[in-house]
Symmetry: C2
Subunit: 350 residues, 2 copies
C-alpha cells in the first residue's frame, strides 16, 4: 500500500474539530497501515484565532493551545495571515478542509463559500454542518465531481452514524420511501425531564447544565434542528431538494408539562418526531411532537440517543438506533469521511 | 459511464436465486444507468436440472421454467453439459457465480469448492451460504485478492441487510467490541407461539406452515443456524476465525412451554440470543435462550424480524433492526454484492 500524505485544514476549532484532531492522532498508525494515509495539519482557523497556516505543518504547540497563537502581524513568516478562506487554504496547501462552523439555517452561509473555496482550490471538503447540505447540495456535489474531489457530510445527521454512506454505498438500487425518527437530543432530554415532573424551563436548564442544549436552545426547541436534518435526508437520500422552511414544523415550546405527564400516565410518551415520505412527485416532511405508545421503538429512545426508521422498496423497515453517543461520534463521522475521500483518491473515483 | 457486460451463473435454483433473477430483471435499467452494468445469464445448475451453460446466453424460456430444461444428451450443442463446476463455469464464460446451495455446517462443502472454482476461473463469487464464510473465509479472501476478484457474502447473515459492508466500507477504523442479537427466525416464531399457549411441537408445525421453518428444523431449533452466524461475525468483523463448534450453544428444544409462559406473566420474553465479545486474545461466543425484560430492544423482535446490537470503540451502541423482511431481502443482498463486485472492476480495486 503506497502512502499519500494529506495537508489538513480545520475551520472552526470547537469540540468537534478538537476531538477530530485527537482521533486522527490516536489512529495515525491504522490510517497509514490500512488506508495508506499520512497527514499533517497545515491550517487552523476560528473566530478567536483568525487564520493560521503553514504549509510545512503547524507545530504541535499551536494545536495543543491554539488560542495562544492567535495571529499577530509580528509573528514572522511561518504563520501566514489571510483575511479570507481562499488565501488561507492556498497558504496551507490544503488537501482537505474540515468545515465545522456553526449552522446558518436561512442560507447555509458562510459554510457554503468555505466548501466551494476548498473544492475549487483542489481540496476535499468535509463538513459537520447541515447548512451546505440543505442549501447547496446539488451545486457543491457538481463542483466536487467536476474537480475530482469529494464533498462529504456524514456528521451532519445522527452524529457520525453512516446514514448517507449506507444508502450511497451499502444499499445500491434501494429506493427510500419513507423515514421516521428522533434526531434532536435537546428536545428528547427536555421531554424526558418534563415526564419526571420538571417544568419546561427547569427541564431546559437541566439540558443546558448537561451540555446537551446550547445557551440559545430555541433552534432545537422550535424544531429547526430536526427540520434541517429532515430536509438533508430528503435532499440527499430521496434526491428531492428540500429547504428547512418546506418542512411542516412544530416545536415543543407549547407542549404543557401536564400533557406530557398525562401521556405518561396513559402509557405513552411525547417525542419530537421527524417524518419524511415520498409521494408521486414530491415529498411530505414534518417535525412535530407526537404521543407514542411504549410499543413504538421511538418511544424507547432516551437522552442523547437517536433513532431512524427507513422504509424502502426492498426492506419493509430498517431501523438504526444510536445509543448514548459521546463527543467522539460526530468527530468520527468526519474522520470516516476523510478515509472515504482518500479512498477515492486511491482508486481515482470522483 | 461505460457499460460492462457480465455473464452470470446461478448454482442452486431455489427461492433465493429465482428471486435474484427477478430483481435483476426489474432493475436492469438502473443497473445500466447508475452502475454501468449489463448482464446475461449463461449458466444455471441445480440438483434437479444438472449443469446448464450457454456462453451466448440462456434463452428466457429456460429461466422461466428451468426444470423443463434438465439437460438431456440429445438437446444439441447450445446447452453444454458438464459433470463439475469448473467445466460448467468455463462453458458459461462466467464472470459472476451466485452460489446458493444449502449449508453444510461441518465443513462448508461443496460450496467452498464452488467458490474456489469461480475465483480461480476468473469470476467473482457471491454466496448466500454461511458455510464458506466460517470454514474458509481467510483462504477464499486470499484467493480473491490474488486473482483480483471479490468473494462476497452479504446475504449470509441477517438476510441482505449490509452488516458486512457497514463495517468494511462505512465504518473505517471502528473496532467492534461486542455483538448481541436475534438472528434466527424459526426459533423466534416458535417462542412467540409458545408464549401464546402452543406446545413446542404445535409451534414448530405452525412455523413450518408459515414457511419459516424447514421440514427438518433441528438445525434452527438446536441453535446451529445462529451459531454459524455468530461464527461468521467473529471471523469477518472481528478477524478472529471461529468455527460453529467453538460457539457455546444451547437450543430451545428443552425450554418448556410453562417456562415460556411464566416468563411472559413476569413481564419477560424468552429469545434465542446470540452473543459475541472480544477479549484480550480471543472471542467469547454463545447462543442460548434468555429471558429478557420487555425494556430490552431484543424482546420486541417478532416473527421473522431480526436485530443486532454492536458495541464499538467509537459508538457505545449501534443497533440495526430489520422488520418483516420478505423473500427479496436475501436475494437483494446478492444483487448488492454484484453491484459491489462490478464497482471493484470499474475502479480496479481488488
Amino acid at each position: 500500500l503506497s502512502i499519500k500524505s494529506y495537508n489538513l485544514c480545520f475551520l472552526g476549532f470547537g469540540n468537534v474539530n478538537r476531538t477530530l484532531v485527537r482521533l486522527l492522532r490516536d489512529r495515525e498508525k491504522e490510517l497509514s497501515d490500512r488506508h495508506g494515509v499520512a497527514w499533517q495539519i497545515t491550517g487552523l482557523a476560528s473566530r478567536r484565532m483568525g487564520w493560521i497556516a503553514d504549509s510545512a505543518g503547524l507545530n504541535s504547540s499551536i494545536l495543543d493551545d491554539p488560542e495562544k497563537h492567535k495571529f499577530h502581524a509580528n509573528e514572522g513568516p511561518a504563520l501566514r495571515p489571510s483575511d479570507n478562506v481562499r488565501d488561507w487554504l492556498q497558504a496551507a496547501h490544503a488537501d482537505v478542509l474540515f468545515e465545522a462552523t456553526s449552522l446558518n439555517v436561512e442560507n447555509g452561509q458562510p459554510a457554503i463559500d468555505h466548501i466551494r473555496a476548498a473544492l475549487e482550490g483542489g481540496a476535499h471538503a468535509i463538513t459537520a454542518n447541515k447548512g451546505p447540505v440543505v442549501h447547496a447540495y446539488v451545486q457543491l456535489s457538481e463542483i466536487a465531481a467536476k474537480v475530482g474531489k469529494r464533498f462529504l457530510f456524514e456528521s451532519s445527521v445522527m452524529d457520525g452514524v453512516p446514514i448517507f454512506a449506507l444508502f450511497r454505498d451499502a444499499l445500491p438500487l434501494v429506493k427510500l420511501q419513507a423515514v421516521r425518527g428522533i434526531l434532536n437530543s435537546t428536545t428528547n432530554v427536555i421531554l424526558s425531564e418534563m415526564e419526571n415532573g420538571l417544568s419546561f424551563d427547569a427541564a431546559l436548564a437541566k439540558a443546558q447544565a448537561l451540555g446537551v442544549a446550547e445557551t440559545d436552545a430555541s433552534y432545537d426547541i422550535d424544531g429547526w434542528d430536526a427540520a434541517v436534518k429532515v430536509a438533508a435526508l430528503a435532499t440527499v437520500l430521496m434526491r428531492v431538494p428540500l429547504k428547512p422552511s418546506d418542512v411542516r414544523r412544530e416545536g415543543i415550546r407549547k407542549l404543557s408539562p401536564q400533557a406530557v405527564r398525562d401521556a405518561k400516565s396513559a402509557g405513552k410518551r411525547y417525542k419530537l418526531v421527524c417524518r419524511l415520505k415520498r409521494l408521486d412527485d414530491r415529498v411530505e416532511a414534518s417535525v412535530q411532537p407526537e404521543s407514542l405508545p411504549l410499543t413504538d421503538p421511538l418511544a424507547a429512545v432516551e437522552g442523547t440517543s437517536s433513532i431512524i426508521c427507513f422504509q424502502t422498496d426492498i426492506f419493509p423497515e430498517l431501523v438504526i438506533t444510536e445509543n448514548n453517543p459521546g463527543l467522539e461520534a460526530t468527530a468520527y463521522g468526519m474522520l470516516a469521511d476523510f478515509v472515504r475521500a482518500a479512498e477515492s483518491d486511491r482508486v481515482g473515483r470522483t
